[in-house]
């Protein structure tokens, strides 16, 4: 598993929506190695406050151009620093890190459940999946958020030709309600499916439960704080069930961030 600590150059800084940005970074070895669902540890400036790097999922990677994209929403001191980054400036990156989404074989439907700002790794996954899709397979996107302006990646998903279903809690776009309602509806159809989800842990917990009830394989990308990103600090612990009934903690940065839904014990 190759990974690099390097100084990446900002190639483009694109505003996607109010307070939502995409950072396009020149980082050839990372772009080459990155797999969908992996993340990078980002250090915008050599400051003591904020002190730690933050993990960001890779939104897309283009090995030919040597670039990767990161999505972020401005919220707090760290992302404000990020938002000040000019084209041509540099950012320290460590990555690509963690495991990645792998398509389940022998199913007709790949259902990607994206909760709000959890969409970026699923955008990357959907784009790679679209390339390797077999004739009998299709991609279904279930994207949900509290409000319309918090939905991420709809254009990208649609551009891939995926079937996209949208929900908002306030009814400002698509179905009024939760994205997990859309999932229940999808799984009423017995056609074999696999589910891949990223979003708030509260959503993942419900997704996991629904999938267990329907006996559908499910992979979740969990969100935890990550001080080191490389397995050294044990700060990113996720409680898992071990065979035999005991429990242990796994590192979201190493054994994750993607876990089989049935092994996670939700706090």
């Amino acid at each position: 598993m190759a990974r690099w600590e390097l100084l990446a150059t900002v190639v483009e800084h694109r505003r996607r929506a109010p307070e939502q940005y995409e950072l396009i970074l020149h980082a050839p070895p990372i772009a080459e190695a990155a797999q969908p669902g992996q993340f990078v540890m980002v250090r915008p400036l050599e400051t003591h406050a904020p002190l730690l790097r933050r993990p960001y999922s890779i939104l897309r990677a283009n090995p030919d151009k040597g670039i990767i994209s990161l999505f972020y929403a401005v919220h707090g001191a760290f992302t404000e620093l990020l938002s000040l980054k000019q084209v041509g400036s540099s950012i320290r990156l460590l990555g690509p890190l963690g495991n990645w989404f792998q398509p389940v074989r022998g199913v007709q439907r790949h259902i990607l459940v994206a909760g709000g700002f959890g969409a970026p790794p699923l955008c990357f996954f959907a784009s790679r999946l679209a390339y390797s899709l077999k004739a009998e397979e299709r991609i279904i996107i279930l994207a949900g958020a509290r409000r319309r302006d918090l939905l991420v990646g709809l254009d990208e998903f649609r551009a891939l030709g995926a079937e996209v279903h949208v929900s908002t809690e306030d009814g400002s776009h698509g179905y009024t309600g939760r994205v997990t309602d859309l999932l229940v509806h999808q799984l009423e159809n017995p056609e074999p499916a696999a589910v891949y989800a990223c979003g708030p842990n509260a959503m993942l917990k419900i997704v996991a439960k629904i999938c267990t009830q329907h006996a559908v394989p499910c992979f979740v990308s969990v969100e935890t704080p990550m001080p080191c990103g490389v397995g050294a600090c044990l700060g990113c612990a996720v409680r898992v069930a071990l065979p035999g009934g005991s429990q242990w903690f796994r590192r979201a940065c190493m054994e994750g961030p993607i876990f089989r839904a049935e092994e996670v014990i939700w706090e």
Partner: protein, 309 residues
């Protein structure tokens, strides 16, 4: 004058190639960083504290960032001493970096049992006793906040272990000097200080604690003045005891400050998360500093801080 400053340091019975080490719990078992950092250049690695049996640790969330620092409550999650000896130590030995093993326990007996298993192993240069462990007999109070308990642990381990012994002190005390004295008198060859500073964080929006355990240990740049203070006080009181300074070291300047107030070596913790190569960067900065200041050796810098003119 020799153009190449002497970076070697002698801490009682322990000689290290240079004074920059990675602190326990912040560098895993070293292997986690082996592809990112040239381990063989480091002065040493203090591995994650080991207990007798594997420990699952505390529930998440275990960490949260604070101004210029972070709080953690990992809860001593580790693989246990047996797994370390069988699966980890043989691989870490390959890198040729001095290996110091941090020993933890909930009881004096556990400290001894872990130390006994390690003392026979090949390739360990010293043991460091993590005295910030919660003491089972005293409702989870840290061993290291009580001079008698500190002495009991150190003496018990000393009698069962031939390796150089480092006692790692907690800053969460009114006066660190009597505890340092107790550890030294009980047989510690070296003292390392400080471990993390007790603290807590609250989220005003959700009105909840930010850590599952409510309280945690503060580390990082924010604690450097506290750490410098404790090192300086212990060096004043016990000038003959070799000290390892720990707490908030982010740069080579920080490391020099610790040497000046009396540390013979330093350990770097949280900064490894920020920049995996911090230990090497600090070492190279220190070397340049010695050259430009025409100081022949690290050893000649120790404890030479002066009053303002």
């Amino acid at each position: 004058m020799n153009a190449y400053p002497n970076l070697q340091v002698q801490l009682g019975p322990l000689r290290l190639p240079n004074p920059v080490l990675a602190a326990s719990g912040t560098f895993g078992y070293g292997l986690e960083y082996a592809d990112l950092v040239n381990l063989s250049l480091m002065g040493g690695i203090v591995v994650k504290s080991l207990t007798l049996a594997p420990r699952a640790g505390n529930p998440p969330p275990r960490v949260t960032e604070t101004p210029a620092g972070m709080l953690n409550s990992i809860g001593l999650q580790n693989e246990g001493v047996e797994t370390f000896l069988l699966e980890i130590l043989p691989r870490l030995r390959e890198y040729g970096v001095p290996i110091i093993v941090s020993v933890a326990g909930e009881t004096v007996e556990e400290f001894c049992a872990v130390a006994e298993k390690l003392t026979r192993a090949q390739g360990i240069v010293a043991l460091e006793l993590n005295l910030s462990c919660p003491n089972q007999m005293r409702g989870g109070m840290e061993f290291g906040i009580d001079a008698k308990l500190t002495a009991t642990v150190v003496r018990a381990v000393r009698s069962r272990c031939e390796l150089p012994l480092i006692a790692k002190l907690s800053p969460n005390v009114t006066d660190i000097v009597p505890i340092a004295q107790a550890a030294r008198d009980a047989g510690a060859d070296i003292l390392s200080l400080i471990n993390s500073v007790l603290g807590l964080a609250v989220d005003a929006q959700t009105r909840r604690f930010k850590l599952a355990t409510r309280t945690g240990g503060l580390t990082g740049a924010a604690i450097k003045p506290i750490a410098l203070y404790h090192v300086w006080r212990v060096h004043q009181a016990l000038p003959d005891v070799p000290l390892i300074g720990i707490g908030g070291i982010m740069s080579w300047e920080d490391a020099v400050e610790f040497l000046l107030v009396g540390a013979s070596a330093v350990q770097i913790g949280t900064a490894n998360f920020v920049e995996p190569t911090t230990c090497i960067d600090v070492l190279q900065g220190l070397e340049r500093y010695l050259v430009t200041q025409e100081i022949p050796s690290v050893q000649s810098l120790i404890g030479t801080v002066q009053d303002i003119a």
